[in-house]
Symmetry: D2
Subunit: 272 residues, 4 copies
Amino acid sequence: MAYFSVNGKKVYYETHGEGKPLILLNGIMMSTKSWTIFKETFSHQNRLILVDFLDQGQSDKVFEPYTQELQVEVVKGLIEELGYEKVNLLGISYGGEVALQFIVKYEHLVDRLVLFNTTYRTSPWLKDIGDAWNLSRGDAMDYYLTTIPVIYSPSFYNRNRAWMEARKKLLTDTVFSDKDFMDSMVRLTVSAENHDVREELKGIRTKTLIVSSEHDFVTPKEEQQELHRLLENSDYVLLPDTGHGSMYEQPALFTALTLGYVNAKDLSMSVL
Amino acid sequence: MAYFSVNGKKVYYETHGEGKPLILLNGIMMSTKSWTIFKETFSHQNRLILVDFLDQGQSDKVFEPYTQELQVEVVKGLIEELGYEKVNLLGISYGGEVALQFIVKYEHLVDRLVLFNTTYRTSPWLKDIGDAWNLSRGDAMDYYLTTIPVIYSPSFYNRNRAWMEARKKLLTDTVFSDKDFMDSMVRLTVSAENHDVREELKGIRTKTLIVSSEHDFVTPKEEQQELHRLLENSDYVLLPDTGHGSMYEQPALFTALTLGYVNAKDLSMSVL
Amino acid sequence: MAYFSVNGKKVYYETHGEGKPLILLNGIMMSTKSWTIFKETFSHQNRLILVDFLDQGQSDKVFEPYTQELQVEVVKGLIEELGYEKVNLLGISYGGEVALQFIVKYEHLVDRLVLFNTTYRTSPWLKDIGDAWNLSRGDAMDYYLTTIPVIYSPSFYNRNRAWMEARKKLLTDTVFSDKDFMDSMVRLTVSAENHDVREELKGIRTKTLIVSSEHDFVTPKEEQQELHRLLENSDYVLLPDTGHGSMYEQPALFTALTLGYVNAKDLSMSVL
Amino acid sequence: MAYFSVNGKKVYYETHGEGKPLILLNGIMMSTKSWTIFKETFSHQNRLILVDFLDQGQSDKVFEPYTQELQVEVVKGLIEELGYEKVNLLGISYGGEVALQFIVKYEHLVDRLVLFNTTYRTSPWLKDIGDAWNLSRGDAMDYYLTTIPVIYSPSFYNRNRAWMEARKKLLTDTVFSDKDFMDSMVRLTVSAENHDVREELKGIRTKTLIVSSEHDFVTPKEEQQELHRLLENSDYVLLPDTGHGSMYEQPALFTALTLGYVNAKDLSMSVL
């Protein structure tokens, strides 16, 4: 529970435990609070570092237009604040996009990278989906229905009715009815519009785990397959019967893959 | 270009060509006009029958609440109007749902059935997506962005930028700005909310072709696989790298599968 | 039931029905007799042309080494014998390879092409599998067990026990115990070893349907996906839960896809 | 490097490192020597325990007929020998089958279970493939070509020509030319013929990671999906573009998944 500054804006972060440092970069709707169920296990052998991007959680709002480059500097500032020479990064969706832009600019600061449900670019298709989200901002229920069903797999959404209904009530009653939150969501969404690192990934050699979900309707698995082709030292795995929100649908696989990849002494063994 | 009546409402239909009768049942946003590019080939060896469901195209509007059972009676009325003992049905999405309810009630009137991108039930997930569509009704661009990107595969949407942009302009300038059209769309969407034929399909033996698309974000392929398990005499095929709007993305496969399945003299050959 | 000559060798063929000509090119273990269950339906609207490649069925054996180029000339000779300017070709596996080599050399003679379970090249992996087949030639049961299970999907093989066991008895008692048949099989297998049309397919514009099977353990679906990328005017479809012998596992889809693709008046409709 | 006895037969095992115990159960052609490249990383935080099943590596041969139940007792004996109350088990293919039979009989001895490329039963299809292996026993090259290509993905086999050719030479010159080794292979293959734990898995609650490969031509992914349905507390993940020998094709994912799953403090976190 501490703050540091980037461009005069305060950034909130927390650290838990000791060991190899692992920074978790949030998806767009998330915050440091989203990691509650993972905190104990992720900090058992690692120094777990949670952070709110600008316009998220307890970090400052940013009222002028910005791109994800600003969040790249948040990550850079965080690593400096903590005094590390190298860290491990986990990014989810929006956070994964920031992570990709980060290694393009600051590859020397990253040991291993783990990406869940992350695309290498905001395609015209994804941009239009983001615009649909933003056009629904004025009505909490409209926003819920436009954004939430597509981030779960149909089977998870249909199986866990009580939980989804409770979440619908909670999100529409509070979070999506909060004008400040919604303004932040719109700015965050817009900040990702020009994300495209296809060209810049050439030559990047960071050991990277790419995880996609079979039923990801926001960042379809084909984009992670392309990312795998673009990133020379990457490994690629698929979560069957899972949607975009893989950390909630498959918490055991999310945990095992992340901790196993980050903590393995060596990952370069080969019979070849 | 003719009309008949169902429950005092006028239903518009067209027939083209001669041969085995093939009735096409429209998806929710479609109308008889949607079939222009297919008309010549589909009527080459068949009597092609196009029809507007109530609340579609040139058929009457229905201002009181209704369910898809009403559209089932439209299909029944059409077959009577044409004087057939048996017809072949092709249904797409909403039209496929009506087709499924139709064989449950009037199986004796159907020779072969072809279903593209059709689910056996409106799941809670799909209902919420429909609600998102309906809540966007007041803003043409919001409606476009909420409904259209998800009915194409990302690769089709991203590859054909000029066509998609022209379509965006056309739909937002005219169709989705037409209050009557939008009111119909909302009613049609609501009419499908209680669709669920899981139980009723037991014992149905109509020879049925089930076609799903790999990137169908509205009626995911798992639902067609389940439909294939439920429907004893069904065949199941998958269109790779295709979205919900398979007729537009894969017109050659749409044509070959439909005409081949409907017109083959026999489909029951087996080595077993 | 007639013969013509290629390089002094007699080639057996049959024709059935009248209409657009459709030549079926056999898989490696097949012959004109393999088409019994399809003959009536395939000749209903078409002139169906069955042919035994050299070293197959009732065509002559070839005792000197040869490549699939010889079979390309068989197809060429057949078209001349029948006096057609253009024909439609369907090829399965080995027959599909010959068909691909045929369009490279004689594209002007082909109207539409349908390929089931066909690869664009004999990869080192496939060559080694062919060598395994040939090394088992001396023992009918060894040959059966090495070649047959892998050409069916596990689910078909496990579900249809009585039929598979009867087939095992028949094939090991007679066909695979026939030294002449086995010698032919070895030569046919060897004749495909250098198949590779990757480079030659550039510029080929024949309208082509490519059908692959999800559980094809001989010509995996990735090879048909690559073929689809290589062949500009191709359409690609996948048969779920099906093995290499798709014509036997999915006779209705095999029939509908083939007849629909060959007989549709036009396949070039597009909204774009 | 030590031995213990089961039914009067000597079983060879090794332990490396300290920490949570992890026993690796070999695939059918493997031995303790197969783990060389993984030893350092797997023993970094764990006590890594390698063992040769009877008829493998440095353990005794078994000349009378036996089933995998004998190997279950090998695992039981090993745990007793080491004095553990609970261990973690990783099984690959044959070793995974033994692991499944082990938890049916001795669930109380297992903490977490990791299964790579493992089926819940030897289907008629798999039995026939095993028979093909055994009928090729007399000829080293025949055995190589019948068994080895199908345990790799085509893309791995085709991409790594030099390594595969070196392996072909090594295996045919030495291992597959060794009559004792081949006799063991045949007995091991036969010992798995009656493997079927479908019924016995009901009620098993061991936390289990099930990993399948997209191009597994020996234990197709559908069998792991079924295993996932049968095993209540299981998690399921897929390795794209990988064959049966996933540990060699995807060593980084093999390592991360195994160590992450075994070593995570908790895997039961859930938002539900």
